[in-house]
Amino acid sequence: MSLLDVKDLKTSYGPVNVLAGVSFTVEPGETYALVGESGSGKTTVIRAIAGMAPAQEGSVKFDGQEIRGASERTLRPLRKNIAMMFQDPVGSLSPRLTIRSLITEPYRIQGMKDRDLDAEAKRLLEMVNLPAHFADRYPYQLSGGQARRVGVARALALEPKLILADEPTAGLDVSVQGELLNLMNDLRERLGLAMVIITHNLNVVRHVADRMGILYLGRLVEEGATETVFHEPRHPYTRCLLSANPEPDPDARLERIALKGEPPSLLKRPSGCEFRERCPFAQEICTQTPQWEVDNGHGLRCLAPLHQGTAA
């Protein structure tokens, strides 16, 4: 049984149909990356998993238990096992609490009165490689990288089985970004954590994710093992995303595939394949609606896929 099983998740904010049926699974200890542009619904997916965004249809099963639409009372004990890392590292820490209070707050919320909060704070800070005296600091006294690590410490407090990380490296300098990714990789191995990471930074995905899903307008358009998706993207959108990744080499002239125009409005979803109007490889057949098809663990929603015939 998968640790997390998301099936046909749908979310609308009024007329805006943000998630149009998202399905994926995460196994224990696995890292799954959701990749997509702004407005693709990435954040809504993980907020819906954590019960922080509404989901009108579909199912979210954690350890076999349905949690979509569950009451706050049912969800609270479950939140011990599902921790969230928010996108804005400083903004997600209350400015009036010390780091000690912030990272031990989960124990208070869960009513774990027997814990020695000072000792726990020390242990958690050590786990994320921050000195113990940071417990007395306030968020404004931290750099962006340090605030991120406090976010990791807080997420780890209750020894969760699953971490939901929203853009864990956004806004970090390159030299610090590596540190955070190393830390997350290390903790994952030591603690056997599963993670869902959402990001638009493909360079990050390559180094942390076992599997990845590409989200476009609230639907997965491709999914597979990270290596396979990077080496043999089959959906034109994936290919465009990969080719839009500038390389730190002035002589690298990528075979860049330009995307046409802007993402369409969610209020007026295009007919047929929703990527058709921006797709450089669109064909006549693309006016029909593509279905989600899985071949050998590689999922695809495209009627005119690339690399045809290369599938093993």
Partner: protein
């Protein structure tokens, strides 16, 4: 040199604070030639923002210019009366800011804002409007006439940044300062913006000072690169020199850290351990010494000068000095 547009000459800028003077920029020198794209790379706290605000003289009240000149077309901007400076801003030098969501006034239509910034022009309102529409078209906004009536919230982030570029270029400036213009955007839109900037730079023949911490973007867009660390220029040169033959350990490590460089999945990514030094209490010698794995005794004793290694390639590191190696 007649084709030099902007010369930063030994510029030092402090911020007066309760803890003492924060030495935000120290002895910065570099130049931008006409029609050239110069990239400034550096991480948080390296002084990029202080540098831009110093060029435009839009500095905080506790800023103190300690030394040096900012010459634009031969004239020192730091000595210019404020009135003349105002004539320059937005006309000869314009800027595109980082966050496209906050650059525009939310309660005025885009058209109104594009008319407002033509306040210097004597043209009729209809002509100004036509000019605004033409510029929107130039940055690839479809149906520009109709969109002039729309408000900022009706545009996506990528479009808003392109509108900001259109507005910055409207006066046909000689120098465009772009302060991390793609940081807030998705990769696909980032590429659109870079390509657009390249085209427009050709068309308008303006120089661009492009500030970014994204090495991939710098490598793709710029002719020359200035690398800053903790308020000082530590290396500068032709983009190929910098990326293929970096002569300062910080530059080298920074390039190594970029995960875009590492094609195969890595268990452990390279990092630069340590922290940027406290600018209010600078250590003696080389500022990168504490984090440098090649530091020598000399690095603690003397500040390495930004020395020319070959035509157009400067670096501030004792490793490049022959006598040090012996």
């Amino acid at each position: 040199m007649t084709d030099t547009l902007l010369e930063i000459d030994r510029l030092s800028v402090d911020y007066e604070t309760a803890r003492g003077d924060l030495k935000a920029l120290r002895d910065i020198s570099f130049d931008v030639r006409k029609g050239e794209i110069v990239g400034i790379v550096g991480e948080s706290g390296c002084g990029k923002s202080t540098l831009i605000s110093s060029i435009l003289r839009l500095t905080a009240p506790n800023t103190r210019f300690r030394q040096g000149e900012v010459r634009f077309k031969g004239e020192d901007l730091l000595q210019l009366p404020e009135r003349k400076m105002r004539d320059l801003r937005g006309a000869d030098i314009s800027i595109v800011f980082q966050d496209p969501m906050q650059t525009h006034n939310p309660v005025l239509s885009i058209g109104q804002q594009m008319l407002d910034i033509q306040h210097r022009s004597k043209a009729s309102k209809a002509d100004k409007r036509a000019r605004a529409a033409q510029m929107l078209g130039a940055v690839g906004i479809p149906d520009p006439e109709a969109r002039l009536a729309q408000f900022p919230h009706e545009f996506s982030g990528g479009m808003r940044q392109r509108i900001a570029i259109a507005m910055a270029l409207m006066s046909e400036p000689d120098l465009l300062i772009a302060d991390e213009p793609t940081t807030a955007l998705d990769a696909t839109l980032e590429v659109q913006i870079i390509e657009r900037l390249q085209e427009l730079q050709q068309e308008f023949d303006c120089a661009i000072l492009f500030i970014s911490h994204h090495l991939g973007v710098i490598a793709e867009l710029c002719d020359r690169v200035v690398v800053m660390y903790a308020g000082a220029v530590i290396e500068s040169g032709d983009v190929r020199e910098i990326f293929h033959d970096p002569k300062h350990p910080y530059t080298r490590r920074l390039i190594d850290c970029d995960p875009g460089h590492i094609k195969e999945r890595a268990r452990v990514l390279p990092t630069i351990p340590g922290e940027v030094p406290d600018l209010a209490n600078l250590p003696g010698g080389c500022i990168f010494r504490d984090r440098c794995d090649q530091a020598m005794p000399r690095c603690a004793a003397e500040v390495p000068p930004l020395a020319q290694l070959k035509e157009g390639h400067h670096a501030a590191c004792w490793l490049n000095h022959k006598e040090a190696a012996e």
